[in-house]
Symmetry: C2
Subunit: 307 residues, 2 copies
């Protein structure tokens, strides 16, 4: 049986690149052993990255069949995985997010979770020296995933291991990191063709905080005005998106990659309370700027409180 | 803050030895950084092993304080951990059991789960070359934990990595494995002083199967008659133990280490159905012999069905 390797829903660059990297690794000793899948259409940055390094986008997977061999990467949260994930035969999990609980297996499997910035970094560790034998395309994907997840080393999630590996890969590939990262971030910022609902779901994860179900959406951009100029439209789309996705409220953080700050849209009293309780912010209008906030994983989620 | 390292409730040799091993490792670069704890009185084999290698038994921990730094080893199941585990600051999990789900963290932590027979084996892998610098006592604990978990390499959970490491440690320590394992198993089999309820809880884990809550108890022994001669007393104690522990039924498997088989006590219709549905057994009396069954983790739990 071919093992399917996939990341989370609303795939970003790491959740697009890492399944391709790990499927390559698993197939290296046994061709065809594993194939990458996506759980949705990847964002514009991930599409740029796949194309830049010569890969077609992996097929989109709607659900997994009972007993299907799978490897889960870049998440351990069942809410971000196919509905039938607990009926699949999960062989291993490779991730760098907080433990969510909810994935159960019948027998012991391999689980490796490490607080590094990027799943691709962890994969390079797990491959031992084998990463050195990767073709340029695979190395390019790993470099891109690290630059994406660390926002070119600006995010506080960045570890020395992520940075060293990215620099090594860039040198190996003859890539100038600042100009390549700028190309990636421009692709990520090119979101004008998306509807408000699509923007709210583009990089969005579900979390329950103090009994309230939130969709915590982050848009990382070098051009925050492109998104913030559509504030009214985004706020208007929130109730419908929340309702359809079984959440009570969408929280949209627009992260300015270059200024290293986030702007949270504050459409109602619940969101205002969240902003004040979680970040000690003083909210006066319908948005609030949160200086230094760049990482959902390391800064936003650990801080979230309703009151 | 001193980090507390502990395994599961009803500690066996692995859950007694591994916290001591890992606390030693964590304290090696920073004396006093970590201390081992036990979540109950360890079994007779674990007591023999600690004494044999010169260790006092670690203190017993009733619950963890909010924000306490902890490392969890040899389990990832909240039912086997202190009631307040999700309020503690879990730094890492090192385990070799199936994923249960239920432990949640606020930020990404280190989780390493591998399908090896013994937590101590996995720790030796994680320590890299550092295990070679361990004092004899620590090496002796690791050897003992492997021999215990693998039933001297008889259990189907045994991997080549466990076996090689045990042989290397034994050679290093000048230990003859067969005679040392026989001493350990004799200590484990010396259970005559325990009450029936204590025997049912000695090596017992909670599992929900098809909506029924079971306590799955295993007694590994070289002298099964010592236990089976007390069958009536054990069966009589089951309802009370199940009731007190919030389970519907205790399943007691008496594993004959030398004959490599298990005897399941069959006191009622529910247990008979479990024996038939799970192991294809034909039950005629109030016990049934299950040839080749030695491992709860690899054989019993994955097979359990109610009907």
């Amino acid at each position: 049986m071919t093992t399917l390797v996939f990341g989370h829903k609303s795939p970003d660059t790491d959740s697009t690149a890492s399944p391709i990297i790990w499927a390559w690794f698993l197939s290296h000793h046994q061709p065809g052993a594993a194939e990458a899948r996506l759980l949705g259409t990847p964002n514009t940055e991930a599409q740029f990255v796949a194309s830049r390094w010569g890969f077609d986008l992996p097929p989109v997977l709607d659900d997994v069949a009972e007993g299907q061999d799978v490897v889960i990467v870049d998440t351990n949260n069942p809410a971000e995985l196919p509905a039938s994930i607990n009926k699949a035969n999960v062989l291993s999990i490779i991730d760098h997010h907080k433990l969510t609980g909810g994935i159960e297996t019948k027998t012991p499997i391999e689980v490796t979770i490490r607080p590094v910035a990027c799943t691709a970094t962890l994969m390079w560790q797990l491959m031992g020296g084998h990463g050195g034998h990767a073709p340029d395309g695979i190395k390019g994907l790993a470099l891109s995933a690290i630059l994406s997840d660390t926002l070119e080393f600006r995010s506080p999630t960045t570890t020395p291991v992520d940075k060293r590996l990215a620099e090594m890969l860039a040198q190996d590939l003859g890539i100038d990191i600042p100009s390549y990262a700028a190309e990636m971030f421009a692709a990520k910022s090119d979101v004008s063709r998306f509807s408000a609902a699509e923007l709210l779901r583009m990089d969005s994860k579900e979390y329950t905080v103090d009994g309230v179900d939130f969709r915590v959406s982050v848009l990382e951009t070098t051009s925050p005005q492109t998104v913030l100029s559509r504030k009214d439209e985004l706020v208007a789309a929130m109730p419908q998106v929340a309702h359809e996705d079984g959440a009570q409220q969408v929280l949209l953080f627009v992260v300015d990659i270059l200024k290293e700050e986030a702007t949270l849209l504050v459409p109602n009293d619940l969101t205002r309370k969240v902003a004040e309780a979680s970040f000690g912010a003083t909210v006066t209008g319908d948005t609030v700027v949160l200086p230094g906030i760049m990482s959902r994983k390391k800064q936003i989620i650990p801080s979230l409180k309703v009151a």
